[in-house]
Symmetry: C2
Subunit: 201 residues, 2 copies
């Protein structure tokens, strides 16, 4: 790609450095910004810098937050007896979007993965244990992906949490709602038979 302008080249390279954006898409984005008012680009840049410089970890749950406490930890209406443990902020948002959970969260910041050199000490586990030892929490829900690393993480955490007399649960696994049985993978289908539940009509 031949650029006649160094300024454009640098802007294209900036966009192309982001995941999933190639140089052709990057050029399209740059040309789009050039068609808009200057102020659009300035505000775009300001929003990103303000976000990157202002964002911090919630002191309690390690969710991304504008303030010392995140929106959930600061919200007095949330059920403070239930904590949902998630791998990352994206999973937290997915659960929150279901509208089915009204307790608090705890963001681990990853899962135990010896292959990637991530052990328990790299995760926000000490902070979780401190919260649990404070005594207000009655149930911990593991909302962690059902992968080998995820299961390992759940096992590790449950071994630490159960001695405190706190209920540990995991989100239900099984065939997806609306999914076709014949397309469900063998492991999921097999386990969903083994873990069958009494039918409630």
């Amino acid at each position: 790609m031949t650029f006649s302008s160094k300024l454009i080249e640098k802007a294209v390279e900036a966009f192309a450095g982001l995941p999933g954006i190639g140089r052709k898409s990057a050029l399209r984005l740059v040309l789009h910004l050039l068609k808009q008012d200057k102020q659009v680009t300035v505000q775009f840049a300001q929003a990103l810098v303000a976000m990157r410089e202002g964002i911090r970890d919630c002191r309690v749950c390690h969710n991304l937050s504008d303030d010392e406490l995140c929106r959930f930890c600061a919200d007095q209406r949330r059920d403070k007896s239930t904590v949902c443990v998630v791998e990352n902020v994206r999973d937290l948002m997915a659960i929150e979007d279901t509208g089915q959970f009204h307790g608090l969260y705890h963001v681990l910041g990853g899962i135990i993965s010896p292959m990637d050199g991530i052990g328990p000490s790299e995760l926000n586990i000490d902070a979780l244990m401190q919260r649990l030892e404070a005594g207000e929490i009655k149930e911990v829900i593991m909302a962690i992906s059902p992968t080998i690393e995820g299961e390992t993480t759940i096992y590790y955490l449950s071994k630490k949490i159960q001695p405190l007399g706190i209920q540990v649960s995991a989100i239900a696994r099984g065939v997806s709602f609306g999914g076709d049985l014949e397309y469900a993978d063998e492991l999921t289908l097999g386990r969903s038979i083994a873990a069958r539940v009494p039918y409630r009509s």
Copy 2:
């Protein structure tokens, strides 16, 4: 999508305002920036603002440029007797990337399209005529998309340019190299038979 942070929400909305980026992709980009050093975001923002505020039209050919003259107009090694007329900067870059053209360019900034309210006066046609009247240019190559609007634009320009005694040519149209004849559209195939050229081995 539930955001626990206003800063993140604004950054996601900023990205999602760009063409082809939805809110899910926007969130992925924002979380990517959060994983990087702060400096990455600051430099990204600076590259965009510097581009948007610094870029201007080349005084001669209306290509995007860092300076008063663009890289091509300022380059003494380019063939100043040939001008390639293009619709926009992206087409200019596509032609330059072929490495087959060594003359100068002229960016119209669009094509004549009565449906979109774009007439000749909206395009950089006066500037082109001024360049041609200066006398140094011997050939004008129309590198404009073979659409109805494109053909109209070429016709309009050729009627203005030919009286100056300047050669007007258009890029060759026909079946694509490497393309399968059976997949070529009828119009292209029909015209490429009508416009057949003597075979040179």
